[in-house]
């Protein structure tokens, strides 16, 4: 048992920073010296030094491919959006007139086209994320997170503006919700898809619970999308709060999946990986 446990936050930071093999022994060294009487300040000083060195190392080694990855992803997403808006524009045109008729062949066709739009969006997001993590293979997670940030940040000024309006005119404006939900959904879906792609190379290593949650999230997403489209053509009356609840359920499911996929391999696994690497 360790007599003096080292600062938990600093250790957590180091664990997330490294790839396990590199940092496991380093953290062990710091823990050993801390247990031998080094101060908390010393531990944090060492941690800060490691973080700074790692940042400089990554930027020096990968700045070009990192920028190329995020910018390519951003450009591709906008290209898909433009193409999608052009191709599927007739499907969403004159929707109010459709509301009068329920479940005619034409409406069914529209709903099918909308579903196709959703599926193609999902596939294109997968393709974009694949490009991002392929361009910057050295740190796919970092490239993915940066890409999600780049996608989300342009949406933030609108959210901030609404927030300022909302705080000036209490009670809080409901206009914030339709702004925030799509941004949150896009960020979580992109993150989960990217993490799945990163781990897909070792599919067998994915835990059963993660697979089950993936299936459940996919089913929920298809259901919510179907309900949304049925509401768009007026075939399903659904109030806004009900719709927000469904959206939040979708986001929560995808976010939980992202957390499961994000989890770092255990130290024992990294040790095995290290010994295997050493035998090659």
């Amino acid at each position: 048992m360790i007599t003096r446990p080292p600062p938990r936050a600093a250790t957590w930071l180091l664990e997330r920073l490294g790839d396990g093999i590199r940092f496991d022994s380093l953290i062990g060294d710091l823990t050993e010296q801390f247990a031998a009487g080094r101060s908390r300040f010393w531990y944090w000083w060492q941690t800060t030094g490691v973080v700074a060195q790692e940042l400089v190392r990554v930027v020096r080694a990968h700045a070009l491919s990192f920028s190329a990855a995020t910018l390519s992803g951003y450009a591709l997403m906008h290209l898909w959006e433009l193409a999608s808006a052009h191709v599927y524009q007739p499907v969403y045109a004159s929707l109010p007139q459709v509301h009068a008729h329920h479940w005619t062949a034409q409406i069914l066709l529209r709903v099918a086209a909308m579903q196709l739009n959703g599926v193609s969006n999902c596939v294109l997001t997968f393709a974009t994320v694949w490009v991002v993590i392929r361009i910057h293979r050295a740190h796919p997670r970092a490239a993915l997170v940066a890409f999600v940030v780049v996608l989300t940040v342009p949406l933030l000024p609108g959210v901030a503006r609404e927030l300022m309006v909302a705080t000036a005119h209490a009670p809080v404006s409901l206009a914030l919700i339709p702004l925030m939900l799509p941004a949150a959904l896009q960020a979580t879906v992109t993150l989960a898809e990217g993490l799945w792609l990163i781990r897909a190379q070792r599919y067998g290593g994915i835990e059963r619970r993660t697979r089950r949650v993936t299936v459940a999230v996919a089913v929920i997403a298809v259901l919510v999308a179907s309900i949304y489209r049925a509401r768009l053509v007026g075939a399903l009356p659904l109030s806004r709060p009900e719709w927000y609840v469904l959206d939040l359920l979708d986001i929560a499911g995808v976010a939980y999946l992202a957390v499961l996929l994000w989890r770092t391999p255990r130290a024992s696994m990294t040790r095995t990986a290290y010994s295997l690497r050493g035998t090659r």
Binding site: M1, I2, D24, S25, T31, A267
Partner: protein, 97 residues
């Protein structure tokens, strides 16, 4: 590399950093020690293996380093070059003997 050579089978992060601090009078960041050793490992001058995990280390393994044959050769070469350079200096420049 000299610290690793001197410590022999006990050469892992903590004693290497302590040895450097003792000999140079300057304490290095533990991360810098690893960064240098990993660079040397990439160049094939040093090799490493994982050792035992002790409770005092929070269950984390020690990473032992040792010089490869090429590493030992390079150290010898550096020593020879240094001695040759010192030998060419006039006595008044640095050595009283």
């Amino acid at each position: 590399m000299l610290a690793v050579l001197r410590l022999g089978h006990e050469a892992y992060g903590v004693p290497i950093a302590a040895e450097i601090a003792q000999q140079t009078g300057r304490e290095m960041l533990q991360g810098s020690v690893y960064a240098i050793l990993e660079r040397l490992e990439t160049k094939g001058l040093v090799s490493s293996r994982l050792g035992e995990a002790t409770t005092q280390r929070g269950g984390r393994a020690k990473r032992y380093f040792k010089l490869t044959g090429e590493g030992v050769r390079q150290v010898r070469e550096a020593r020879r070059a240094l001695e040759a350079l010192w030998g060419r200096l006039p006595h008044a420049a640095g050595d009283k003997s």
